[in-house]
């Protein structure tokens, strides 16, 4: 009996919410008037007729994140990598190596393994397209990198961690990849300044298209007829590398078997206790 009361209350609630939404649809819909700031952003994200203010990218989010407020994003990236550095520092001295002998066949059954041989390829392809089209369609370096990091997680769970470690996806190689990504972000941020120093013109850090005070320096918006939006493509690409590698390190450390994580002193202490 109580059953039916619950179901009736649920249905009535749904109907009431639908009625309220339908009756006040004019109030609840977002207004067509856009505020001035949004208007400026929407106008100037891709506006080749005014080179001084545009970011030359049809994707408003990416142009805001990496051009209009680029310095903010550099600090955000820094916070994220400090967190990952913290995780690596916590696990320092922990040997991330596969044991010499593995008993039996690690991982899940043959069916799951076969499917997992197909899925990571698709995941990395989608992640690459999210990251490399980040200046054209919704997405970007961080989203693409987070998507790419799902592939190693899948392999970790299905094939065991040792499968990845044996194939060179370990802490050091991922740290190298992450460092390449971060260095790339730094070089892209200073690219305009370096070009300016070489040619003797004024330029800004994180500059993409020419600015009123630095009219001579700009990064190319088109390469071979393809829109790459100056620095945005490079930022997205390097952020993709860095985020994918950073997340992979964290996942490797999280899934480390506890027995392998023992340092030499702890092993000695455990053996001494047994004797």
């Amino acid at each position: 009996m109580k059953h039916w009361i619950g179901i009736c209350v649920l249905i009535l609630t749904i109907l009431a919410i639908s009625f309220v939404v339908a009756a006040n649809i004019n109030v609840l819909l977002p207004s067509t008037n856009v505020r001035t700031l949004a208007e400026i952003y929407l106008k100037y994200t891709y506006y080749p007729w005014d080179k001084y203010f545009t970011a030359m990218s049809p994707e408003a989010c990416t142009s805001i994140v990496w051009d209009f407020r680029g310095l903010d994003t550099v600090f955000e990236t820094m916070v994220f990598y400090l967190a990952i550095i913290g995780a690596i520092a916590l696990a320092r001295g922990v040997p991330l190596k596969p044991p010499k002998e593995i008993k039996g066949e690690p991982g899940l059954s043959l069916i799951v393994k076969t499917v997992t041989k197909i899925a990571p390829v698709l995941i990395i392809a989608v992640a690459g397209s999210i990251a490399l089209h980040g200046h054209l369609t919704p997405g970007g370096g961080f989203q693409g990198g987070a998507t790419a990091a799902v592939a190693p997680v899948l392999i970790l769970v299905v094939f065991s961690q040792f499968y990845l470690l044996k194939r060179g996806v370990n802490k050091n190689s991922m740290l190298l990849l992450r460092s390449i990504g971060l260095t790339g972000i730094g070089i892209t941020a200073f690219a305009a300044v370096l070009i300016g120093l070489a040619t003797g013109h004024y330029a800004f850090v994180l500059q993409n298209q020419p600015k009123p005070l630095a009219p001579n320096i700009s990064l190319p918006a088109f390469v071979g007829g393809q829109l790459i939006s100056g620095s945005l493509w490079f930022f997205n690409f390097f952020e993709f590398l860095a985020v994918a590698a950073g997340f992979t390190i964290v996942f490797l450390l999280i899934t480390l078997p506890e027995k392998l994580a023992e340092t030499k002193e702890e092993k000695r202490a455990a053996e001494g206790g047994e004797k």
Binding site: L108, S109, L110, V115, A119
Partner: protein, 140 residues
């Protein structure tokens, strides 16, 4: 709009309708079934009949809808690829869940007629396994 387009759209809409019905049945099953394995069965109805089939239907509708122009082939192709991915990933996931639960033994297998997996696991020697032809789900 040719006759073929109309047929495609009607078939697609029927498939989407079947999918909605299957999702409802799956939801009722997840609520009402008494234990884990039966609920997992209901959940897989939701992934195959409730997600794979409507996506094929959506591909048909997109292919038959002339108003979309050239882009209908993009939509149909996207729907077909998504359907294929669900078709291979869904069963693998439910298989992994069921196998893990069975091996850990935290849920009694009931109602049970026959349990080949349990019989395989209780047989220790590989010789006996070869005699029954390794028909169970043991990893090889």
């Amino acid at each position: 709009m040719t006759l073929l387009d109309i047929v495609l759209i009607v078939i697609g809409e029927i498939m989407i309708g079947i999918g909605a019905l299957a999702d409802l049945i799956a939801a009722i099953g997840i609520n009402r079934f008494p234990n884990f394995y039966l609920r997992l069965h209901a959940a897989t109805i939701g992934t195959i009949w409730g997600a794979f089939l409507p996506l094929i239907g959506a591909a048909f509708v997109a292919a038959g809808c002339e108003c979309l122009g050239e882009y209908r082939w993009f939509m149909a192709g996207g729907a077909l690829i998504t359907a294929f991915i669900i078709l291979i990933l869904g069963p693998a996931g439910s298989h992994a869940l069921a196998r893990g639960t069975h091996r850990s033994g935290i849920v009694p297998v009931e109602p049970k007629v026959v349990d080949h997996l349990e019989e395989d696991e209780s047989m220790p020697t590989s010789q006996e396994k070869q005699e029954i032809g390794e028909e169970g789900g043991e990893s090889q």
